[in-house]
């Protein structure tokens, strides 16, 4: 006999382990419970076991992972002891799930209408007309305009945010009692992320559905959840009400997570009279595409006449949503894609095609990429990777070259022993350190960092940011820091440039842009990002969902 409780879900001492390796546990002694309609946040860095814990609740853990102990009880029934058939019946109808990548969780060769119809066919006895009515109703509620016209569209015809809304619609279609959302908005822009999350909260609230929100993003999750669980290395290290947990974190790891939140750096002043290191004058980039053999080439402007001056030693942050052209701008400035108009001036001289100034610029403009694995040749040792970057420093003899390589590795906090390793033998953070070392080893005047910390875990991100600003101070290079993450900008940037639709819409000193944003878009962008402000013991959120929303109040 199971004891009757008012809990919707009870996880008791759950242990998850590998099928072939009994000594290794992925999740240890996880216990928590969930009341109907409650919103619970599960926070942790990559590898903390949060996804496995979430998936095991509906028996969707990968085949190599199996429960080793404990129990999961949903409405008085043990999920672990349930037959595959009953489990299948439970999924979708009583427990729904939303995954991170909406493009891969929707079938690309099936229309949205049919995909939404499938769970209704499986779990209900509604006829065609009623099914259609239900689908149209939910599509309207998740905010898809003209749902009747869009039923026959395929997933690729929707934007990322729309696809995630459709995923949400399909998960909520059967009014489940529990919705599990695993990093549901990580792939989306700040503004879209906010819309989708608020929609998700509102929808679950209306239906009385409980929600487990799984994410690495502590401020985001704290904004929307009543209760938080913090996971690390397979263990729940801390749990409690979101506000309490933030205000006075008990566990060391939670404290470190909060300390990893970026803080605003000091204001530095720059001399405006000297020649800027890099100057853009009316830079334009066009993408051309030919649709058919004889068809006219169609042109699409990705950048509309960008003017920008980057002074010596200055860090300029380039912020914008995806599709705003910020990455295109970075790549055009680096010379990876050709500009279709305008000029790039290096130390006041326009760079031509392959003249002396071009080569000078080429060696003085380096880039740090987002993915530290993709930017390092997997077959090169660290030593060779760094040596490659010094190839054109002709004035160095081999001993000096070797010294420079050693110095560069130590400078980024690694050791000589790492020199003979291959990239895959290093962690993500270490790889990004190498990518940074490679970019600055030739003492360039200008470094472009394209989402250089976006792929990293919060605590690692803080260390890499610290390293970057330290190197920047030490070597004095100018930096164009491209990111969608405004919180990162605050720590590092001297000046902030906001882009939208291929044009600069706001530009100014960091404090001005953050404290007195001029354009409505910047204001919306700033408000969309959950931010933690540090207090003596912990932190408080700048605002919580549902209460004193500065943007909405300001608009009214």
């Amino acid at each position: 006999m199971t004891k009757m409780t008012d809990m919707l879900l009870e996880v008791k001492d759950l242990e998850l382990g590998l099928v072939h390796d009994e000594s290794n546990l992925i999740v240890r002694q996880a216990s928590f419970d969930l009341r109907p309609g409650e919103v619970l946040g599960l926070v942790g860095e990559s590898g903390s076991g949060k996804t496995m814990l979430g998936r095991s609740i509906i028996g969707l853990q990968p085949g190599a992972i199996t429960p080793r102990g404990g129990d999961i009880v949903f409405r008085g029934r043990s999920i672990l002891k349930m037959s595959a058939r009953n489990l299948r019946r439970l999924r979708g109808s009583e427990i729904g799930m939303v995954f991170q990548e909406p493009m891969t969780s929707l079938n690309p060769s099936m229309t949205i209408g049919r995909q939404l119809e499938e769970p209704l066919r499986q779990h209900t006895r509604l006829d065609t007309a009623r099914r259609r009515a239900r689908i149209l109703d939910i599509m309207e509620r998740v905010g898809i305009p003209e749902p009747g016209d869009r039923l026959d569209d395929y997933p690729h015809e929707f934007s990322g945010g729309m696809r995630q809304r459709i995923m949400l619609a399909s998960a909520m279609l059967l009014k489940p009692a529990l919705l599990i959302a695993d990093e549901p908005t990580t792939a989306l822009d700040a503004l879209v992320q906010r819309d989708v999350l608020e929609l998700m909260i509102e929808l679950t609230r209306q239906e009385g559905t409980a929600l487990i929100l799984i994410s690495h993003d502590l401020p985001m999750i704290a904004r929307y959840c009543e209760r938080l669980l913090v996971m690390r290395d397979g263990e729940i290290v801390e749990s409690g009400r979101a506000d309490d947990l933030l205000a006075a974190p008990q566990h060391d790891y939670t404290r470190r997570l909060l300390q990893a939140m970026p803080e605003r750096g000091p204001v530095r002043s720059f001399d405006d009279s000297t020649t800027p290191v890099v100057e853009l004058r009316g830079l334009e980039v066009e993408y051309r595409s030919r649709t058919g053999f004889l068809a006219r080439t169609s042109r699409k402007k990705a950048l509309h006449g960008i003017d920008l001056r980057i002074r010596r030693g200055e860090v300029v942050a380039l912020v914008g949503a995806s599709g705003s052209g910020k990455t295109t701008l970075g790549r055009a400035v680096a010379g990876l894609i050709p500009a279709s108009g305008g000029d790039i001036l290096f130390r006041g001289l326009p760079i031509g095609k392959h003249d002396a100034n071009w080569m000078d610029y080429r060696l003085n403009c380096q880039m740090i990429f987002q993915d530290p694995f993709g930017s390092l040749d997997p077959r090169f040792t660290i030593r060779r990777l760094l040596a490659e970057a010094l190839y054109y420093q002709r004035n160095l003899d081999s001993a000096e070259r070797d010294d420079r390589i050693r110095a560069a590795v130590r400078e980024v906090g690694l050791e000589d022993a790492h020199l003979d390793r291959l990239p895959h033998e290093l962690s993500g953070g270490q790889r990004q350190r190498i990518a940074i070392a490679r970019a600055v080893i030739g003492r360039p005047d200008f470094v472009i960092a394209d989402e250089a910390v976006s792929a990293l875990d919060v605590t690692v991100r803080a260390q890499i940011l610290e390293l970057l600003s330290e190197l920047q101070r030490q070597h004095g290079f100018s930096c164009l820091f491209i990111t969608h993450d405004l919180s990162v900008v605050e720590q590092l940037a001297d000046r902030v440039v906001v882009m939208r639709d291929g044009a600069i819409i706001e530009e100014g000193p960091r404090d001005t842009v953050f404290d007195r944003p001029q354009s409505g878009y910047t204001r919306a962008l700033l408000a969309a990002i959950p931010k933690l402000e540090r207090t003596a013991t912990g932190a408080v959120l700048n605002w919580r969902f549902g209460a004193n929303d500065p943007l909405r109040e300001g608009a009214q």
């Binding site: 080569m359 380096q366 880039m367 990429f369 993915d371 970057a389």
Partner: protein, 271 residues
């Protein structure tokens, strides 16, 4: 041990036998494989001639050993030819794109439009049937496959950030192709080269069987099989032994090829 593991060793063993036979055939054969002895023709397998003699009284075992030698050299040289030029052309095509890509792809697609055996037949009738003709014809016939595979690998590689990072350091295209692109697409090359080896062996035998391979009296497994045809009812061993050699070697290569593919394809690892 899994079936998979056993297959690997069986494949390795069969290839080993084949290579040893080819090596032995290089230095020593029980009899002169070309010596005609009209007195001892069509002798069944037995004490004097382990695998019997053919219609001219030549020792079948000796001829098989010599045939292994020519099969190995033809297959190896053909694969080397196809991989060498395929790597160059495929890398150029995938990295340079533009008109270079279009020209190379036009030629490749033209070649691909013909079945490789038909193409080899046509080329051989122009080049003349000798060992180098065979290698050139087969090499050209297999070239498009390599170009296609390399081009695909290069096109996805060139979008990777480490290639862009290298461009940012000011390295010229040739350096990038040589140091970053080619080493990183070796894995798929090794995989197709292995499976190609078996395929070339079979095609070469088929060509010999059709009378367009290495000309007699030099033995190959294919032409031995071909010349055995009229005697199948009286002297079955003439066809059975070369046939067995071809089948077993191919089996070995295919089994081993699966293993090589699994080793080099990270997606197959851990399955």
């Amino acid at each position: 041990m899994s079936i998979h593991g056993t297959n690997r060793y069986l494949g390795g063993f069969l290839i080993g036998c084949f290579l040893i036979a080819a090596l032995v055939g290089l230095f020593w054969t029980p009899y002169d494989p070309l010596a005609i002895s009209l007195g001892g023709k069509l002798l069944p397998p037995g004490g004097q001639h382990w695998l019997g003699t053919d219609e001219y009284g030549r020792d079948v075992l000796s001829r098989l050993l010599l045939g292994a030698r020519s099969s190995v050299s033809i297959s190896l040289l053909t694969v080397t030819f196809a991989v060498f030029f395929g790597l160059i052309l495929g890398t150029l095509s995938g990295y340079a794109r533009g008109w270079i890509d279009r020209v190379i792809m036009l030629l490749t697609d033209t070649l691909l439009a013909f079945p490789s055996i038909l193409l080899a037949l046509a080329l051989l009738s122009i080049l003349g049937a000798n060992m180098f003709g065979v290698i050139l014809a087969l090499g050209l016939a297999y070239l498009p496959t390599v170009i296609r595979v390399v081009r695909g690998a290069v096109m996805s590689l060139r979008e990777r950030e480490f290639i862009e990072a290298s461009r940012l350091m000011g390295h010229p295209a040739f350096y990038i192709m040589r140091c970053h692109i080619v080493p990183n697409c070796l894995a798929p090359i090794i995989v197709i080269a292995t499976s190609m080896f078996g395929s070339v062996l079979l095609t070469e035998s088929a060509l010999s069987f059709l009378g367009l391979g290495v000309p007699p009296p030099a033995p190959t497994w294919g032409n031995m099989l071909a010349s055995a045809r009229p005697y199948m009812d009286r002297a079955a061993w003439l066809g059975v032994f070369p046939g067995l050699c071809i089948s077993l070697t191919l089996l070995g290569i295919n089994l081993f090829g699966d293993y090589v593919r699994d080793r080099f394809d990270p997606r197959m690892r851990g399955l």
